[in-house]
Amino acid sequence: MNQKLKYLLIAVAVILIAAVLVWKFVNKPTTDYAGQKPEMSYSFAELMKKIETDTSNMKDKLIAVNGNITKITKDSNSVRLEIGSDTIMSSVTCDIDARYIKELANISEGTPIDIKGIVSEVTVDPESSFGNTVALIYCSLNKK
């Protein structure tokens, strides 16, 4: 009887551990990149120059960009901004990670920023009305 009870308890424990592991795997939050070091760092001008000739090895990489904020768009639960120049359409778009919106409460257009994020897309089309664009997601301040 004791032996059976022992096996039963072991089986229950194994099932419970497996259930917790599966739950954790399924509900794992998206990666927090704020504590990670960017693979590459660019000024806005350097990045725009680079993508004109070479967009390889950029997608899905964590990069840092510094430049002037040209536009901030805020709503109830999100902040996104553009880094660029008033003289060209090309820009870097940054979707701020919801976990770090508070850090950026005092940003304003026209001021410099050093930000990092995952490259979700690079669009090079100088003929398009949108200009060239590097889109970053999960952005946070690049603290050195």
Partner: protein, 181 residues
Amino acid sequence: MKNFFLILLLIGALQSNAQMYLTKTGKITFTSKTPLETIEGVNKSVGSLLDIKNGRLEFIVQIKSFVFDRQLLQEHFNENYMESNKIPRATFKGSVTNLAAINFAKDGEYKADVAGTMNIHNVSKEVKNTGKIIVKGGMITLLCDFSVVLADYNISIPGAVKDKISKDVKVAVNCVLSQVK
């Protein structure tokens, strides 16, 4: 004489920009709701352009810019459903068809009828919809809600999760456009 033509060209270019409104940080949210699970993805890097002179309207949606609250959802969305490495963007190219009913010089809310070609997952379809245009303080906000039937765009859902993902997802568009300088 040469300078005169250059000035004319410059004035023409400035005038054509004056009627263009654009954003690269528009927002599109999609929601799949079933009794078992609600899934929401948000893309805040949507490109949108409106020419208020002729009603030309464009949206460019980079699929990889959709963000989810769970890592697994993000991976499945990109790898299994939208195949974002192969098909990186969705687009809409069309126009506002009731342009005369919208006064872009006066702040207000206007009903906007839109028609054009939507391309998702490399499948193009002619679509018509009604949304809202808000003109306020020199900015134009585009708002629109519609449904997308996944099968219409060859997006297949594996049998194992078919009860967790709706066959038609709700899409909400919210883009704030500013004038191109």
